[in-house]
Amino acid sequence: MSSGTLALLCTHAPLVGCFGALVVLRRAPRAAAALNILAMLASLGAALAIFAGSNHQPPTIISLWLSSEGVPISFGFLLDGTNQLMGIIVALIALCIQVYSLGYMKGDPGYARYFGLHGLFAWAMLSFVYSANLLQAFVFWELVGLASFLLIGFWFEKPSAAAAAKKAFVMTRIGDVGMFIGLILLLSSTSTLDIAQLMQASTLASIPDARLTLIALLLFCGVVGKSAQFPLHTWLPDAMEGPTPVSALLHSATMVAAGVFLYARFHPLFVAAEGVSNIVLVIAIITAILAATIAMVQRDMKRVLAYSSISQLAFMLLGLGAGSLYAGVFHLTTHAFFKALLFLCAGAYIHQIGSNDMVTMGRQGAAKLRLVSAGLVIGAAALAGLPPLAGFFSKESILAALHGAHANAFVYGAYLASFLTAYYTFRMVFLVLRPSDKSVLPAEEHEPHPHGDVTGSMKLPIAILTVGAAAAGFAGDFIAKLIGAKALHPTYGEMAPAIGIALAGVIVAFFEFGRKDAAQQGFITRVGALDTLFERKYYLDEIYDKVAGGLVSLIASVSAVVERGVLDGTGDLAGNLTIATGDATARMQSGRLQLYIGSAVLLIVVFCYFVGGY
């Protein structure tokens, strides 16, 4: 098969699954699930086949969609290394998670709908990844947002889930508006939206500097929204209202990585734009530390992982912002594996024990789930950046990229964030796996409601992803070759502090949470003010509420004045004027017949005088 056919198969097979599950097989949930998993298998096969055959294939397949004033807008597939890599990751993780969902979602009344929406997401995401045109990419970018909205709100009968879905949709939309304006500016400056063409140095050189910076910043708005960076990050933790496999697929491994992927896709543009990389670095470092500190004090396992996703996405942007395409994409790849793994482990505990609370999990014997616990430890070690697991290598390359060219503040910030990462990750591990009798943490208010045992279909993806999380770190040189960027090999001098810092985080977590008879109280609780600040997520939700609420009431009161004064006034004026005119003209109807005749005659005379010319 030609690569065009393969790309079409890869992107559109899930759409068939989606249609089948949502329209045809609503009453046959098992068939719907089977259809979607088959479709995902076909997608993964096609993605791998594209990769295998990429040496003798044209990298872009384009067909004209429409042409307006000499500007062609085409749809097509861009099959270069970055896209191939991302396509394989998305298809693989999506497949794993769909298989996992077979067990996790068992007995849910919306089983068929769930798999249909997964198909919708996979279609949108894969089409986005392989897009050859920025407008096409934007269309699918929005469809990814839609799929995310539907999946977060999957249990829409829960008001909190419905609210979270709305919040995610609106917050990402704020970023998307910026991105769309950037897209229009880009189109007006270069008369093309073809990604391959846009990334050529000559095209980028033809845009004036100031405008290029503006475009880069606007595109970065989209990245900030989609990848949940400060200040638009608050939607992601709330998105944990969706089913856990959804969180694993969308809100950690693939969909939120779409923002980072877009940045990687437009890396030449961001590098060419003056001063943008510093803004990116500042936002990324703020996000990384902010999210990590919040994760330190959460008790809900999914929320810890959500904040860790935000923090890790910020790490990817740190790597990309430091100018290394390799570091960002590499961390994106490894993160997809270990974060999906961690979420699936969390899902397994939630399924078995029936609570999101880590303390409850520990006390109910989460450690008895051997395979899941092994996965959790390996995933956590990978996230913390312990050698030789996946996260270690990618985080090292990010730190190396930061060392290379940038101010020390960023490097120290990144060190702080990786210390916090190791700390909160192992806090989670110890809370779940080593419950302490002397723990001062109070029990949860609700009784846990177990859903059932962890099935084989849930264990298999965990096993696969465990292997991935352990081994993906060795793929660095391969990834560098695939995306055509220079691999970064940090020196031992650079590695040592990073390893030391990660180990320090683990050790502090061990003393506070993992030791026998540990009090399970973090050092941060000694500083009450900070503890509350982190607990309340820096009060950002409250601030946004106040600002947005205040803005809305301001607009509303202005509108009210305008309506009462201007709009109602105009209406009243028209009415009153009509009545007054009527009154005035009614006086002329005197009822004196002879007056009428007289004025008629007078008029005729005057008329004749003028018309007749006398």
């Binding site: 006086r587 109807q589 005197s590 009822g591 017949l593 002879q594 005749i597």
Partner: protein, 101 residues
């Protein structure tokens, strides 16, 4: 006897008719005034027919029409006046002002 003599007579007649239409209070008076104005118009037609137009038939035909019309108009107007009088017990135009304002 030239054209202008006839026209002057017709003018005087028309002016008298108009005057009575504008000043009479009684409906019958108004009707008489209208009749006078119609006759003034007839005289005009006949005068122009006699002095200006070469073919004398046209004006005479029109005048015959006017006479027929006047007769019909008088019949209708009288019946209207009669019913107005029955309704209002009066034939004064100033009393018939129900539609004013």
């Amino acid at each position: 006897m030239t054209l202008s003599h006839f026209l002057l007579v017709a003018l005087a007649l028309f002016a008298l008719g108009l005057y009575s239409v504008l000043t009479r209070r009684h409906l019958i008076g108004l009707l008489i005034g209208v009749e006078l104005m119609l006759n003034a118009a007839s005289i005009n037609f006949l005068a122009f027919d006699r002095f200006v137009v070469k073919d004398p038939a046209t004006g005479q035909i029109i005048v015959l029409f006017i006479i027929g019309l006047a007769a019909a108009e008088a019949a209708i107007a009288l019946s209207i006046i009669l019913s107005a009088y029955r309704a209002h017990r009066s034939a004064d135009v100033d009393d018939l002002d129900e539609l004013k304002n």
